[in-house]
Each structure stands twice: as C-alpha cells, then as structure tokens.
C-alpha cells in the first residue's frame, strides 16, 4: 500500500498536496481506492463551490458501493479533474497522480498542518487492518 512521504492524510483516507503557490490538490489514498474496488463513476463538485472541513464534496461510485469524499480542510474549489468523467479508472490506477480529484483554495492555509503525516497515516492503516 503506497503512502507517499510528501502528502498529508485525513482519517477519511483523503490526501492533500500543498503546491508552491499555496493552493492544494486533494485525492483519495491508495488504501481507499483498493478498498472501494473498480471505480466506475466520479461526481465532481462545481468550480467555485465552498466546503467546510469534513463536508462531502465528491461522490465516487464503484462496482461495490457509492462513497462520499470528505473535505480534509475547508476551502473553495478552484479546479476539478475533468478527465475522471471519461476515465474514472485513473483513480484506481494512479490515486496520487493522474487520479487527483480537486484543487482547493484553503480558507486557512495552516489547516492541513493538523492532518496526519505519512508515517502517522501508515500507522493508522495498520491499526485498521489489525
């Protein structure tokens, strides 16, 4: 199970990547995509929508179930990964890269600091599968 070092993680299995300009990219983790199974449909939010931390912002449908993704930190959607509309499998194939979900302008740039670092998330995963 991949857990890249340069990302922050939420308990709901979303990752956050902070870019040079301060904006962040959000996606779901390798663990999450594996647990969901083959994703067949992605419902993205609209650009300009705002969400509080913990609010559902995106819906993923796999052959098993429909799952919500929860905002790891509050903010406004500035971009969505439109390639997922035609190729939802990107979330399975490359969850940390081409399978990203949204770009967010944070309400509070310091908020991701409270999320888990890679080592903590790996430990959290281990506790789930015990």
């Amino acid at each position: 199970m991949q857990v890249p070092d340069d990302l922050k993680y939420s308990k709901e299995h979303e990752w956050v990547r902070t870019k040079a300009d301060g904006a962040v990219t959000v996606g779901i983790t390798d663990y999450a995509q594996d647990a969901m199974g083959d994703i067949v449909f992605v419902e993205l939010p609209r650009i300009g929508d705002s969400f509080a931390a913990g609010e559902p912002f995106c819906t993923l449908e796999s052959v098993k179930a429909v799952s919500e993704c929860y905002m790891p930190a509050g903010g406004k959607i500035t971009a969505v990964n439109e390639s997922l509309l035609d190729s939802p499998e990107l979330v399975n194939q490359d969850p940390y890269g081409a399978g990203w979900l949204v770009e967010v302008e944070l309400d509070d740039a310091a908020e991701p600091a409270a999320l888990m670092i890679a080592a903590e998330y790996a430990q959290y995963l281990a506790s789930l599968t015990e």
């Binding site: 594996d34 647990a35 199974g37 083959d38 067949v40 449909f41 449908e61 052959v63 098993k64 179930a65 939802p88 499998e89 599968t129 015990e130």
Partner: protein, 489 residues
C-alpha cells in the same frame, strides 16, 4: 456457450402459424393510416417456427434460479419459501374476478379480508391502525415519512428538517428522507453493532423530525438499547420510524409498537408469503400509533354492526388531515390475500415458531462458519449475520470471488458488500424454511471454497466455471454501458 437471442433465430418467412386467406378485401396500410403514424420500414420481428420458439423460452426458463430451485441465503432480503397454498388462495376466482369499482355490497368478502388483515398486522406490530395501500417497502417508508411530516406541520414544528439514520441502515432510508425534503444525519454504530447512544444524544434536537431504524438491524443484531433510543428521540420531540424489513426475526416475540416506534412498515412480500425479487407486485403496509391515525392515507376499511344485517364492511374516505392516497385503488390486493392466508395458516404460535427457526438457522450457520471466516460482530445474531472474509495480508481472493464461486456449487450467492460498515461483507440469511441438511451443505461449500482460496486461488478468482456465462465484466458494463440491443447485420 452463448446461445442466440430470439432475434438471431429463424429465417425470413418462417412462421409458427399459418393464417387463412382473408375473406375481406385487402387494403394497404397507407390507405388507412395517416403518414405520421406509419412505420418507415418493416419492424424486425423474429421469424421462427413453433418448436424453435418453445425450445428457446423453455431453455431460458430453466436458467432461472429461485427459492423453488435451491437455497437462496440473500441477506437482508428474506428469500424464504412461500407455501403454494397461499397462491391457491389468491387465485380463487372470487378474488381474481373482482373489479375495483365493484360496489361495496358486492365486495364484502374482500373488504372483510382487508379489515381483518389490518387488525392482524396491528397485533403483530403493536400498532393501532394500518394503511394497506403502499406497494413496496420503500413506498411504505415514503408514506410513513409523509405522515410524520404532516404531523410536525400540524403542530407548527416546520423547523424539524433532519432525519437521523444509523450508518448500518438500508440505503432506502436516507433516500426516503431526501425524497421527503429532509436532510439525513448519520448516526454512528457502537462496537457491538448497535446505535451509539452518545452520538444519538448529541445529534437529536429541536431540528429532529424522526429517526429511521431497523431492528434487528442490517448486521442481524437486535439493538437492546432500543427503548433508550426511541426515548431520546421522543424527548427531543421527534418521532421514531421502524423499517420493518427484518420482521421475520421477531414475529410473536417483540413488537415495534412496544419498542417505542410510532410508525412502522411491514414487507408482506418478504415476511408474509409473497414471492419477491421479480419486481413485484409487493406490499408495504404502514402502521401507526393512534395519534397519527388522522394522517393515514384514505380510504380505510371500517365495519358497521347492524342488528338485522350483521356486520357490513365499507370504505371510509373521510379524513381532512390525511396525506391523501399513495396508490390507485386499495393497494396490491393479491398480496394481501396471501398474507392473510399465511397468517391464518400459521396462527400466532406458528408465526412465533417461524421467527424462532429463522434465528436458530442463522445462528447454526454462523457457528458452522466462524472457524473459517472472520466474524466482525461476534454475538448471538437474529435472522442473519455478516461475515468479513478478508483476513489481514490476504487480499487476492475477495468477497466477490467467493460469491461467484458459490454459484458453481449450485447456491445463490449471499448479499455482498453490504452493510457498508463491514469491509468485504458477506451477508447471510438462511430463513426458517431450510433444513439442517441444506445448511450443512452450504457451510461445507463455503469451507471448501475457503480451502480453494488458499490452495488454488485462481479457481476462485476465475469463477464461476459452470454457469452459462462466466465472469461478467461488471466494470466495463458500468463504465461503458450498452443500453440497447443492436441487431447484427
């Protein structure tokens, strides 16, 4: 071994019947029909002989798998055997020949049956009145929630805009709440599989319209805190709705009305002897406590006692606060007849025994499988139980594979990937009508498959091997659905 479709059989001009020469003048369609109503080209209808036609559909019918063919432990669905005598009752010409516009004096038998069935259901569920109109479980939920909304509106409490739903709930519960314009608030489960009381306490308040709950829940667990749960919601001013889909576990033992529920729906097509899974017709009557009776859909069947004429049954359409009709006429009457016959046939003692056997069978199977599969909520279950076959580190064989492999052993697979709170869930509901031999056979198959998963996993991941079509590509089917048959030319 894909077989041709009916459209791919036969050849042009072949036919199953010969028509006599017409004895009236032949007229061309274009002389009779206006241009806009004429086809541009001939319909591509199958052209087959009678024997080809009969063989085609007989073969298809033999591919059906139902409760009458074999064991069908589809958790949450109660696929129990439905005695044929109930079908015979529903087929009586006096019932099948009824017309919904027939006058009351000529429909006394049917009205009496509905009147009595309503009272039986009331006794079983601990409710004061029932509407028999809803045609399915989810239809019952919608009816129940509309009644709850009408009650709050009547009291001027329109700020109650949230419905509490546990995270183990049937998917129809939050869908129903949304359909009624409510916001759904998810209540967590505790480590024993019941409702987390602290979470419920925190969430219940002046904006709570209702809680929707199934007891026993979808983990097959009876929530022993049920009275506290309904008390907390009532204290907050909300009402308690019981999704009675799991009534098969509790008939004659405990009643939703006594657990503190104000509204309940029962699935006659699950618990009360109507075959289901084929898309209907179903029946989801909704029962309420007295204070909600004014809001029930109308008409209700009432009884008038007259010294000379005796008992007369009639339809009472009055009810200014009623939410209105939820179904044309009076509901699916044939299903009511089967439920009536089933209840009368078993009686109170028989219904209680049916529930006892449903629970005993589930626990027997659970104990037989616990050595081989992970049991995430390890406690005495009700009519069903949930396994999580995934053991840590071993992810090659998934629940989907186990389910597919079961088909090779001649069983209908259990429900999989539900409830959502159990990873890789396998949900098994044997029902009361299965014998010990059947349960032993099924358990042996699941243990054998567990062995295969370790020793020859590709046999399991490649399953099914013995069905007319092998593993279907569900992913491509979902991503790129082909929704319309295109004839190959």
């Amino acid at each position: 071994m894909t077989k041709p479709l009916i459209f791919e059989l036969g050849s042009p001009g072949r036919t199953a019947a010969g028509l006599p020469e017409p004895d009236v003048p032949v007229t061309k369609p274009e002389e009779l029909l206006p241009f806009g109503m004429r086809r541009e080209r001939q319909a591509e209808l199958p052209e087959v002989s009678e024997v080809d036609l009969v063989r085609h559909y007989t073969r298809l019918s033999s591919l059906n798998y139902g409760v009458d063919t074999g064991f069908y432990p589809l958790g949450s669905c109660t696929m129990k055997y439905n005695p044929k005598v109930n079908e015979a009752a529903a087929s009586l010409p006096g019932f099948t020949g009824l017309h919904p516009y027939q006058p009351e004096e000529l429909s006394q038998g049917a009205l009496k049956l509905m009147y009595r069935l309503e009272r039986y259901l009331g006794e079983i569920a601990g409710m004061d009145r029932f509407t028999l109109q809803p045609a399915a479980g989810a239809h019952g939920e919608l009816t129940g929630l509309l009644i709850i909304r009408a009650y709050h509106v009547q009291n001027g409490e329109t700020q109650r805009n949230k419905v509490l739903v546990p995270d183990s709930a049937h998917g129809t519960n939050p869908a129903t709440a949304a359909m009624c314009g409510y916001e759904t608030v998810q209540v967590k489960s505790n480590s024993r599989g019941g409702v987390d009381l602290d979470d419920l306490w925190r969430l219940a308040g002046a904006d709570t319209a209702a809680i929707m709950l199934t007891n026993p829940n979808t983990l097959g667990i009876f929530d022993e805190n049920i009275k506290q749960i309904t008390d907390i919601v009532h204290e907050a001013g909300g009402l308690a709705y019981c999704d009675g889909a799991n009534t098969n576990a509790i008939m004659g033992k405990v009643r939703p009305g006594d657990m503190g529920f104000d509204v309940v729906h029962l699935n006659l097509h699950k618990t009360f002897a109507t075959p289901h899974g084929g898309g209907g017709p179903g029946s989801g009557p909704v029962g309420v406590k007295d204070f909600l009776t004014p809001f029930l859909p109308r008409p209700l069947v009432e009884c008038r006692v007259d010294e000379e004429a005796g008992k007369t049954y009639y339809l009472d359409h009055r009810g200014g606060q009623s939410i209105g009709r939820v179904k044309a006429f009076y509901g699916n009457f044939g299903v009511m007849v089967k439920a009536y016959a089933y209840i009368r046939m078993l009686g109170a003692a028989g219904l209680t025994e049916a529930s006892e056997h449903a629970v005993l069978n589930a626990n027997y199977l659970k104990e037989k499988l616990r050595e081989t599969y992970v049991l995430p909520y390890d406690r005495t279950c009700m009519h069903e139980f949930v396994l999580s076959p995934l053991k840590s580190g071993e992810r090659k064989v998934r629940t989907l594979d186990l389910a597919k492999r079961l088909m090779d052993y001649g069983y209908h697979p259990p429900t999989i990937y539900f409830p959502l709170i159990v990873e890789e869930a396998l949900m098994i509901e044997p029902t009361e009508t299965e014998s010990k031999e059947t349960l032993d056979g099924f358990a042996a198959a699941l243990r054998q498959i567990a062995r295969e998963a370790l020793e020859q996993p590709e046999t399991v991941t490649g399953a099914p091997h013995r069905t007319p079509v092998k593993r279907l590509d569900e992913v491509t089917a979902a991503r790129k659905p082909v929704l319309r048959y295109q004839r190959q030319s």
